[in-house]
């Protein structure tokens, strides 16, 4: 698949140029980064000012060649965020709506309604009006409708975003089944990391219309540097902790993380054993190669560098110091201290650098 397009938006320009070949490709990014716009462009629902879109050798759009297929000709199944079922038609009429598409559009797979209905377990819903469906049921019906139009590509726009957590876990397996059962490539838009990790073989990370990173989800989402670009250029360390000891006079509390690491933070009135979260910016950690003496910082933690990533004038270090810490330094600091993966170091953190959530 080839996707190269430029679309001017109100606040920025969507400018993507990628080619990929995966069963499930995820487009991952915060809201407002242009993800839905991209799907609309692939489906032919939005004007693309310049670019080329090609699926399986079929050119859907090409500005240099003057090709711009209508949505009807593209054979792309689209499940928009809100599902967009036709409210005046029954479930059955909804899912058969696209079935009338002529099947000679190069599509090799042909699924019967019976098959799709069974895989998505919506048989009992067929005669219901769609206004009587729950959120999870609506999503399954919308999926069935898209699949039964015999698409060459399936576009899913945050299919789980509107569902609450319990329901998400119930729908995820259906998405996995669609992936495994129908052999239609899927482009899956989401801002949820665990959905990417569960479903996708390949991920594109986009922010404000630009590609930030791409690759196998485990690699891309495991990279604090890539994630920092998503989150407005901040890298946060977040720990879930419980108070071990509190000293009101001294103004600090001792807490223990889930990895049994003990830290000093500003005084909190939390009862023992109650779990809460604390945050620490990756920019607020000092790194020393020797144990410092005579300093005020409440936390001096021995540790080891497990990973160093450098890009755009910054270096993000992943540290193992009884728990995982992300530290951001300048590349010159890394050079000056000759830091490498495996180097033993000390992390110096002021108690007041921690913020209680």
């Amino acid at each position: 698949m080839l996707l190269r397009c430029r679309i001017p938006l109100a606040e920025f320009e969507l400018d993507i140029d990628v080619s990929f070949d995966a069963r499930v490709t995820s487009i991952f990014g915060p809201s407002g980064s242009g993800k839905t716009t991209l799907l609309d462009a692939i489906a032919g629902l939005r004007r693309v000012s310049e670019g080329e879109i090609e699926i399986d050798g079929k050119v859907l759009f090409s500005s240099p060649r003057g090709i711009d297929l209508s949505p009807q000709e593209r054979s792309v199944g689209y499940v928009p965020q809100e599902g967009a079922l036709f409210p005046h038609l029954s479930v059955k009429k909804n899912i058969l709506f696209g079935g009338k598409r002529n099947n000679d559009s190069g599509t090799t797979q042909a699924f019967t309604m019976e098959h799709v209905v069974d895989v998505l377990e919506i048989r009992s819903l067929l005669d219901r009006p769609v206004t009587m469906l729950s959120g999870g049921e609506s999503q399954r019906v919308a999926l069935a409708r898209a699949i039964l139009s015999h698409p060459q590509l399936l576009l899913l726009d945050e299919p789980l975003a509107a569902l609450d957590v319990g329901l998400k876990e119930k729908i995820l397996p259906y998405l996995a089944r669609v992936r495994d059962e129908f052999c239609v490539p899927i482009i899956y838009v989401t801002h949820n990391m665990s959905e990417v990790l569960t479903l996708a073989d390949w991920v594109f990370m986009i922010r404000r219309g630009r590609l930030i990173a791409q690759g196998i989800p485990r690699d891309v989402l495991g990279s604090p540097l890539a994630l920092s670009k998503m989150e407005e250029d901040t890298i946060e360390n977040v720990f879930t902790v419980a108070v071990v000891d509190s000293d009101r006079e001294g103004g600090r509390s001792k807490v223990r993380t889930e990895s049994d690491l003990e830290l000093f933070i500003p005084y909190v009135e939390e009862p023992a054993h109650r779990l809460f979260q604390i945050r620490l910016s990756a920019d607020d950690i000092l790194v020393g190669t020797q144990r410092p003496e005579g300093i005020s910082a409440g936390n001096v933690l021995p540790g080891k560098i497990s990973k160093i990533e450098s890009l755009d004038g910054q270096a993000v270090l992943t540290m193992d110091a009884g728990d995982v810490f992300y530290v951001r330094l300048t590349p010159s600091a890394v050079t000056k201290l000759s830091l490498q993966e495996g180097t033993p170091v000390f992390l110096i953190i002021k108690a007041r650098s921690f913020r209680v959530l």
């Binding site: 489906a43 949505p71 689209y78 709506f97």
Partner: protein
């Protein structure tokens, strides 16, 4: 009192028939115009919209005078029609044209609001499912906007029945030929035939009530749905 005279029947049925015909004539045009106003953008769109809505607020007599000038035999349009054997002025066709022009804005307004409430996402999804624009229009858009369209048509029909000013200028007030309920009431009052006038008054009240009530009911149930 409820046994109506032949003349009353004639007037009532004539009004209903021409009112219905006028509504049927403007229906496809109104739906199309409303859809364009709700879904398309073009330069000077608001000017076009204002022109279509103008009869709603202009004095009906002024509209009638304009229509008379357009369709009169001395105008190019009137002459062109006359040469093809169609005469609008001072016969039932004049009544129909007056009713149609005066009630058109009501239909367009209701239908336009209704079309705007149809989620364009549904039409887009239908397109990705392979439905042609025509199929989308008839299977998705129209059914979803139907209540508003019908309500608008009912309003337009009521307005048509009540038409007076434009009709009297374009079609005249010719008993048995162009006389509608409204024109007849005016006529009877002028002639001092109060009883006849009151009977017709009663009929107009009943017709208007049924029409507006069902139109309101439809619009309310659309909001709920």
């Amino acid at each position: 009192m409820f046994i109506l005279s032949v003349e009353t029947w004639q007037i009532t049925l004539f009004s209903l028939a021409v009112g219905l015909a006028s509504t049927l004539v403007i229906l496809p045009l109104g739906i199309l115009a409303a859809w364009f106003f709700a879904r398309k953008e073009w330069p000077l769109k608001s000017v076009v919209e204002t022109f279509v809505l103008l009869p709603l607020v202009m004095p009906p007599v002024s509209t009638g005078l304009i229509l008379l000038k357009i369709f009169g035999r001395r105008s190019p349009v009137g002459r062109w029609l006359y040469d093809r054997g169609i005469e609008i002025v001072f016969n039932w066709k004049g009544v129909l044209v007056a009713m149609a022009v005066m009630s058109f804005p009501l239909l367009v307004r209701a239908a336009r609001a209704s079309f705007s409430e149809v989620n364009p996402r549904l039409e887009q999804v239908a397109a990705t499912l392979g439905a042609s624009p025509v199929r989308i229009f008839f299977v998705i858009t129209i059914p979803l906007a139907l209540r508003g369209i019908v309500a608008g048509a009912l309003l337009a029909f009521s307005r048509a029945l009540g038409e007076f000013g434009a009709t009297i200028l374009l079609a005249g007030n010719i008993p048995g030929k162009t006389q509608t309920l409204s024109l007849a009431i005016f006529n009877f009052v002028q002639l001092g035939k109060d009883r006849e006038a009151y009977i017709l008054l009663g009929i107009t009240v009943v017709l208007a009530f049924v029409s507006v009530w069902s139109s309101e009911w439809l619009l309310r149930s659309q909001k709920r749905a």
